[in-house]
């Protein structure tokens, strides 16, 4: 998977490294701001109230 992505990144190595970093950051941001906030309420360990 990772080598496939690497092979498909255009440009010389330096540019590819930059692209890879940007790609990784984009994935992290997507997780942090979209996926995790969505998944969090579905997980049980954050309940602090009594019923």
């Amino acid at each position: 998977m990772y080598s496939w992505i690497w092979r498909h990144l255009p440009g010389p190595t330096v540019v590819r490294v930059l692209e890879a970093v940007v790609l990784a950051l984009a994935v992290v941001a997507l997780l942090m701001f979209v996926v995790f906030p969505w998944a969090e309420p579905k997980l049980p360990f954050n309940n602090v109230t009594t019923q």
């Binding site: 998977m1 995790f36 360990f45 954050n46 109230t49």
Partner: protein, 305 residues
């Protein structure tokens, strides 16, 4: 990150190097078995597992640190809104009234009071919002709807996160009997003191601690208010379904005690143990003092302990 290292190895590092060019790399490349389907599959599965592990680690970072940042911004907004509300509408402090009733207009999701726990340090302060849904608790400690208001007879109950989201109640287990919890509304300060722990109830009168200034007005409620309060102690750990801990008289849901006979309690709830929601950590405190809010006045309990 991983592919970068892998390919640098082949393309750049070694190929450009004269020393290696002659012997090793060529031989090495030929030694590798062909990229069979099985190889690809195994590698793909391995990479997927590593990726999932990283995602889980990232989620922990999100829970423990990133939600703190997000909540800090929300808490700041709520505090700013509360401050501007307090400075814009002029209210005179009500006269001391032993039977005071609820007087705050509580709106869900809006802060209505500030809370301080001096033993946690001067920087421990949170604006308390109305409501205890996930959304409310992201902003800060949340007041259980339909429980008493600050200073009112009954049980002023607040829930707060223990981990992440600002973790206001992270150290709740460290509170000891007689520690003060100060609540400020627009017009009044209320000083609550943590009740004696269950281990201290027996022999409280002879306990040297009970003579300390901080413990003035603090005694096991069963001795001062009767058996109906026997289960109301400084700290308890209950299962999540035990909503009776926030009843006007904790653990006595059906009790019919007139409001003027009820203690003015404060109850804090959070999850327990840390990182789990298996149980709830409960702290009960009793109001020992109140002061009208005045310019420049800070209750002495805020600096002492």
């Amino acid at each position: 990150m991983i592919p970068r290292v892998e390919d640098d190895y082949d393309d750049e590092y070694y190929d450009d190097d004269d020393y290696y060019d002659d012997e090793k790399p060529a031989a090495k490349k030929d030694d590798l078995p062909p990229d069979s389907l099985a190889r690809k599959t195994v590698r793909g599965v391995g990479e997927a597992l590593i990726t999932m592990g990283l995602v889980v680690l990232l989620f922990v970072v999100y829970e423990v640190y990133v939600t703190d940042l997000l909540s800090a911004a929300k808490q700041e907004d709520a505090t700013a809104a509360l401050d501007s509300e307090w400075s814009s509408n002029v209210v005179t402090p009500p006269p001391a009234d032993p039977n005071r009733k609820s007087q705050l207009n509580l709106i869900e999701g809006k802060a209505f009071a500030k809370m301080y726990i001096p033993v946690f340090g001067n920087d421990w302060k949170f604006s308390v919002v109305e409501g205890t849904t996930d959304k409310h608790l992201e902003i800060g400690p949340g007041h259980y709807k339909d429980t008493a208001q600050p200073g009112e007879a009954g049980n002023f109950s607040i829930a707060g996160h223990r981990v992440g989201k600002g973790a206001p109640f992270n150290d709740l287990d460290l509170l000891e009997s007689c520690n003060s919890i100060v609540v400020q509304t627009q017009t009044q300060w209320f000083v609550y003191r943590v009740l004696p722990m269950s281990s201290e109830v027996q022999g409280w009168a002879t306990n040297p601690k009970s003579k300390e200034a901080a413990c003035a007005g603090v005694a096991p409620l069963s001795t001062t208010l009767g058996e109906v309060y026997a289960k109301t102690v400084g700290q308890e750990i209950v299962v999540p379904s035990q909503g009776e801990v926030i009843a006007p008289i904790p653990h006595q849901v059906g009790a019919t005690v007139p409001a003027d006979k009820q203690a003015r309690l404060l109850t804090l709830t959070t999850c327990h143990p840390r990182f789990s929601d298996k149980q709830r950590l409960i702290v009960h405190a009793i109001e020992t003092k109140s002061y009208p809010v005045a310019d420049g006045f800070v209750p002495p309990e805020m600096t002492g302990a």
